[in-house]
């Protein structure tokens, strides 16, 4: 029996077939990456995906856009800018939570943690740099967003008081950093992007408002949104700071503990 053979050219992939000569001249760092380098790397990672870029743009523009709509549609006397600045800053913070979640849980969801921990095996070090990175991004975007919101208020609203605006801006910038870190902590704890986002928004936007209606005293002790508004509108006192710090610490510790126990598969 004769077997018909077809002469076929192998797929052409000439560039694949070249092998580089040994690279004795390749400069490779032999030491561990420095913390600033890792923080920079994490910032680049967060902002190099479409979802990251989209969130950064949304976090920057949501507050000012809402301020434009509110100013154009309302004739009420605002009294002070601290209210609108705090509320818009809180909206920014809600979006920055997602940015934090993506930086940690996103890595587990896309399984890129594998590469991350292959290159930097100390998970605590990775988490610390992620927390610093999202805090810096959060603060920067919150600052930019608040500056734009302030610009909107200055041009569109007349006769409003700017007393306390400095504190409001400071609170909003710090809240941006804090909310992003909270997101990163919860994301690291749950290692699942949809789970972490759903859980956080359910608690912050669902449970907390219900709680402030039914048990206002308890809500005062738990709701980070209330805390931001209180601080932003000039309230002095440590309780709101303790509430926000509590969220940051609890989520970060949970993320740290659970990340160390988890096998990378």
């Amino acid at each position: 029996m004769t077997v018909a053979t077809e002469t076929r050219k192998a797929p052409v992939m000439t560039d694949v077939l070249t092998l580089t000569s040994p690279r004795s001249d390749l400069p490779v760092r032999r030491t561990a990456p420095s913390l600033p380098l890792l923080v920079g790397l994490e910032i680049r990672k967060s902002l190099s995906t479409r979802s990251g870029k989209a969130l950064a743009v949304a976090a920057t523009l949501l507050g000012p856009a809402a301020a434009v709509i509110a100013s154009a549609s309302s004739d009420e006397d605002l009294g002070s800018v601290t209210g609108p600045l705090s509320v818009m800053g809180l909206l920014t913070g809600y979006l920055l939570i997602s940015l934090g979640v993506l930086s940690t849980a996103g890595e587990w969801s896309h399984r890129t943690v594998q590469t991350t921990y292959l290159l930097v095996p100390h998970r605590g070090r990775v988490l610390a740099t992620k927390a610093v990175a999202v805090a810096l991004i959060g603060a920067a975007l919150a600052a930019l967003s608040t500056a734009l919101t302030a610009g909107v208020l200055a041009t569109m609203v007349d006769g409003v008081s700017w007393d306390g605006a400095g504190q409001a801006v400071g609170v909003v910038v710090a809240a941006g950093a804090a909310f992003a870190v909270i997101g990163a902590g919860v994301g690291a704890a749950l290692a699942n992007t949809p789970g972490a986002l759903t859980g956080l928004y359910l608690v912050l936007l669902g449970v907390m408002p219900v709680l402030s209606n039914s048990k206002p005293e308890l809500a005062e002790d738990l709701d980070p949104a209330n805390a931001v508004l209180h601080l932003g509108m000039g309230e002095q006192g440590t309780q709101p700071i303790v509430v926000i710090a509590g969220w940051v610490v609890v989520s970060t510790v949970a993320g740290w503990v659970l990340t160390h126990r988890r096998a990378v598969s």
Binding site: A10, P11, M13, D15, V16, L17, T18, L19, T20, P22, R23, L26, P27, V28, R29, R30, T31, A32, P33, L37, L38, G40, L41, R44, K45, S48, T49, R50, S51, G106, H110, R111, T112, Q114, T115, Y117, L118, L119, V120, P121, H122, A263, V264, S265
Partner: protein, 292 residues
């Protein structure tokens, strides 16, 4: 030098890797063979610190992987080629890795060229085929030109041309003094690439040796126009004859020359005469059945 000693990994009560020990020498390509679920991937993940060992150690140059100051400069690892963010471009992905490892950005374009992804470098990884992701993973592992390469099923998704390229790459790496561990469940895929075989089945190492040593077997396979007559002649000469497939006779402990001589003396026409060679598949089933 990679040394794995007494490595055991249990998940719940299930032992996935069972007291695995081996050492990898510079200048060699070691094939890590076993069926899916035999424990290859888990062993490699424990070696690279991704999964904690239940007991035992794996060291790279006398250090645990997690204690290497910059592990990416020492071990180039390819585990799961799809573990890349689909939203980044191939080049962005590699640039991030290059920063973490500490090699210049120019090296990214070099490795992209090396694996043939230059034209796809600006496309998002989400649009890559499995073979392209595999090559992107190999590019990432080669960034620092590290002395050790640990590749889990690197031939997955590669076309024949790509597999041949990878064979040359790994052989070249070993020829330069590099150490290579390469896993596969397709035995034929690695036969011509590796110097040494580590065969794993059910979490245990069932064979560890040079390819020639494991595959070589003394014996002759012979076919004759009249197999029954040849069998009688061979048995008369006190050879042990087994009936193989398609009428072939397998004569243990015999050189082909001796078998040919007996056939000539008996006046029997032969249609095939060659030394017996165990295929990797045969070897593998023989070993893993013995272990089971």
């Amino acid at each position: 030098m990679i040394r794995v000693s007494g490595l055991t990994k249990q998940y719940g009560g299930r032992t996935v890797v069972d007291d695995v020990s081996f050492a990898l020498e510079p200048g060699t390509v070691t094939g890590f063979l076993g069926p899916n679920g035999a424990g290859k991937t888990t062993t490699m993940r424990v070696m690279t610190g991704l999964v904690p060992a239940t007991s035992g150690t794996a060291t790279v140059g006398d250090r645990l992987y997690v204690d290497l100051p910059n592990p990416g400069s020492v071990v180039g690892t390819l585990l799961d080629a799809s573990a890349v963010h689909p939203g980044r471009t191939g080049r962005t992905h590699l640039r991030l890795l290059a920063s973490a490892i500490g090699v210049p950005d120019s090296r990214v374009d070099e490795v992209l060229g090396l694996v043939g992804l230059t034209d796809a470098a600006r496309r998002r990884v989400g649009g890559y085929s499995l073979g392209m992701r595999q090559r992107l993973g190999i590019a990432g592992a080669l960034l620092a030109d590290p002395p050790v390469l640990v590749f889990d099923e690197p031939a997955n998704g590669l076309d024949p041309e790509g597999i041949r390229w990878m064979r040359d790459l790994l052989r070249g790496h070993a020829a330069r003094g590099g150490t290579v561990l390469l896993s596969s469940h397709l035995l034929g895929e690695v036969e011509h690439t590796v110097d040494r075989l580590l065969v794993i089945g059910g979490g245990r190492i069932v064979a560890d040796g040079a390819v020639a040593e494991l595959l070589g077997a003394d014996g002759t396979v012979v076919r004759a126009a009249d197999p029954a007559a040849l069998a009688r002649a061979l048995q008369a000469a006190r050879f042990h004859v087994q009936h193989g497939s398609d009428g072939a006779l397998v004569v243990a402990g015999a050189e082909p020359a001796a078998v040919g001589e007996i056939a000539a003396t008996a006046g029997l026409a032969l249609t095939d005469l060659r030394p017996q060679q165990r295929g990797l598949e045969d070897l593998f089933f023989q070993l893993t059945e013995a272990a089971a």
